[in-house]
Amino acid sequence: MADYDRRQGGGGGYNNRKRRYRDDDDRDHRGPRRRYDAPPHVRIRKQLLSIAENPMRSWHEEVQSIANLFTDNWDDELLRSNFVDLLLQITVEQPLKIPFLAAVLLVANTNKSEIIDLLLAKLVSNVEAKIGEGEWRDVKLYLKLLACLQSCLEGEGVFPVLEELFDRAVDLQTASSEDTIGTELVKIILLTLPYVMVAAPDQWQQKAADLMEKTEIIASEPHTLQALIEPYHPERVEEGAPPTTSLIGLLQNQLQNEANNGWILSCLPRPWEFPVGEIEVQSKLSNPTKHPLPPISIPQTVVAGPRPLFPEVYFSVYADQDVESVPPVTNAAASLIRDALLDTINILDYNRNITARHLIEVDCFFAPRTFAARATPFDRLRDIEPPKSTWKPEDVAVDAVFSQLFQLPNPEHKLVYYHAVLTEACKLAPAAIAPSLGRAIRYLYRNIHRLDLELTDRFTDWFSHHLSNFGFTWKWTEWVDDVFLPDLHPCKAFIAGAIDKEIRLSFAQRIKNTLPEPYQALISPEKEKDVPDFKFKDPQTPFAAEGEEIAGLLKRKAADEEIQPIIERIHALALDNNLDPLVASTDVFVTCVLHVGSKSLSHVLAAIERTKDRLTDAGATSDAARAQIISSVMSYWSSHPGVAICIVEKLLNYSILTPACVINWALVSYAGRTKGDALGKMHVYELVFNTVIKVTGRVRQVVQKTNQPDAEVGNEMADAEVTAMRGLFKDMEDALVSWASGSKDEIMEVGEGEGGAGSEHERLVRRWGERWLRVFRRRAAIEETFLQEAAKEKKAVAAGVTAAGGATAGEAIAVDPAVDPTGEAVVDDVL
């Protein structure tokens, strides 16, 4: 069986070129062969897996052919049980196909009705297992299949299950206003309902109305964390509160609209409706054998599962267009199509090629005429006469990926996955996808002043990474006027940040060649040098002689004793010149280490490794000296901030620097020195953000370890880590509040008209302060949520209750080298 499947499942891999080649050989060159029909189970598998993928085949033919092939071979017991397993597996792995699988079952039911009982038995036990694990997406997908089978279920079919889920949701919501599981359950109910309504039309209006009356209360109540995860962060002067985009709130309203219009739900496919010519099958389908749905037991306490649940917002990059290229937020299609696409995207992260293909072929899986023709240029949508659809399948697909890329606090997978999906989609259908991406980029750029800063950073990162996959081509000319904006302007900051990241993935000269002339001034000649100048080469630089000497000693790997006298000479010289001796010697020494290691990151890491004792001592002497280490790194590599950030990260791993020190350097010293300009530099944000993620990742790891029954990590250690993290957030809050409120000394000191109080510069700096503040307040809130959940879980473990899963770390956490026994950079201390 494996050989057959591999062939048709292939095309996704990029590693199997050789194998495919050999397969072709087998087929092509062995002369005439007797026609060989694969055994039924193989054919069924093949057809089921590709169901609805071919737009040239009509759904009813495909559905009927599979159903008949199956019922014709009913006596094959293995086939029977494999069939059920496979259907359920496709349900949770390729959710766009669920209605079509249901149609196969409904047709099979007209011939061998036992199949439905076989399926229901397995489905029910799977649902129960998934509820137990808190795998709510799988629960939703099984229920979706069940909903599509509503017409062949006895009694009220799937409704009792939905009602019981709702009861749980009510319990949870009354118990805590911060509950997210209840909200998730209501979301599942609302997303299942439309499928019931199209599977068994005109029967359940009253039931649906009753249920929706109940869900209204929960769906319309904004969650406490809602405000922090909104993607936009409007300036205070702008129009009042932005309209809420709570996903569940929108969904409730959309379904209310549908209910008022008799549940037309025109976007959903109905592959169980056969054309007029197939009257015989259709009449059988209209009077199906009914089956009792075995009871699904839902435990009294339900769990959040392995992924932390947060309220969700509906995000679209095509919201403000004059022609609707995506469903409007008032239409249920917006939520239903988005939901199916998001599940597809997030489930299939292990094969981005298939994800991209499903995205591009999205129109195959929804009702005909839901979308405009593929690759219709945006400008031509205007010419489409109503009632024909103007929804561009490419826009709908791309929008779904962007909604993940811009999901706060984090999407399910690493951000780079969503980059890769967009890259693949663009490779598969460049003419169709690239213009959609272009409009998305322009929308984001236009809104960058109000986009959350964390999302601005994600945008920059995706944009540069995407361009690096497509020859760095972008129509930069359209933003050319913005090059002359002040550096603190959000658009200018984006341009600078994006160009820097492009250079990091490539090199300065290459990027320069892709940019129109005015932009080229943004790439300084220093950026084109592989190795920065060594400032002590210039005899005018203070301590030039000492610098040259230390560099010489480091180069020939001299013993530390030889370095010490020179350091002492620097101290003496500094004192004579009224300079801080420790700061002076630290600058000289660190700069020399960087210079000796300037050839590559390996070189600098080796140089740090050799001198780590002296570096640690230097950092330990005074706060000023420790801050100087960062200043020296950032200044030596100022033209290549990516390298600087990388080195600081390694210095943190060696405990030569502390997180507090990095944050203080960025938000107080450096930001102060630059009168707030530092806050508008994307690489400074990146440095701070990475440092915070390192700390929070570490805390999560330690806290989870103490939660294990046989915890080796003591509570004291975890408490200390947590306290340190809270202290860090507190420091950031203090520093950022004063930037955001304009009370920072550096702003006050400067006179009016030259960047002081009341000036445009001050307004911009304060705005950056606000944007920073929001990001790190959110991070702090999320970590507190995590700690609360962990405490609950711990209590549960202590009480002997085996809590399955529990809302724990959902984001990617790098194991800290400090706890890695095999790591080269093993250090005892934290971070």
Binding site: G9, R352, K414
Partner: protein, 184 residues
């Protein structure tokens, strides 16, 4: 054994790795072959944190590799592949992460995408060992660069063996051509 997915996974080792693993078994003596019991050896890639990266340009730097591969997690160690003789980069490297998951994600999200405008290849790797950073080709680089017939600017033009063959040929022609020289 987990049920095979309905969609092929990209985080599996490549055919290259699996074939190299299998080879020693195939070449065993008949005596051992009669032992039909499949060896239940531990999968060396079960917890692999290292990724082999291939098809890099000779000019791609460590910093570029860091920039791209950090998107899947913090990098613990990076070892650039070097020409055994010249000690210059020869188009591959090993990226070591702190976790197995990061390595798998790297296979899924970075393998087959571009770095420095070349499609790069990734493969799960049991572990970097000293010596493996050097090319195993006859002339110091990677084997694949010996007989490559296409001209690849990022990897030193034509295959080296082909180049030297052509050089020798050209030289021979030069010598034999003596009397027809004016025709050239």
């Amino acid at each position: 054994m987990p049920i095979r997915s309905t969609v092929e996974r990209l985080d599996r080792p490549s055919a290259y790795y699996t074939s190299r693993r299998r080879r020693p078994d195939n070449h065993r003596d008949g005596e051992e072959d009669t032992n039909m019991q499949p060896e239940q050896t531990e999968d060396p890639l079960k917890d692999a944190t290292t990724i082999y990266v291939g098809n890099l340009s000779f000019y791609t730097t460590e910093e570029q590799v860091y920039e791209l591969f950090s998107k899947c997690g913090e990098i613990k160690r990076l070892v650039m592949g070097l020409d055994r003789i010249t000690k210059t980069p020869c188009g591959f490297c090993f990226v070591e992460y702190y976790t197995h998951q990061d390595a798998l994600d790297c296979m899924k999200y970075i393998g087959g995408t571009k770095l420095d405008e070349r499609i790069i290849r990734t493969d799960l790797d049991p572990e970097f060992e000293e010596g493996r950073q050097y090319g195993r080709g006859k002339s110091g680089g990677q084997v694949r660069d010996e007989y490559r017939e296409d001209y690849d600017e990022g990897r030193g033009g034509l295959g080296r063996a082909i180049r030297s063959e052509r050089l020798i040929e050209a030289e021979r022609r030069d010598h034999n051509d003596g009397e027809y020289g004016r025709l050239r």
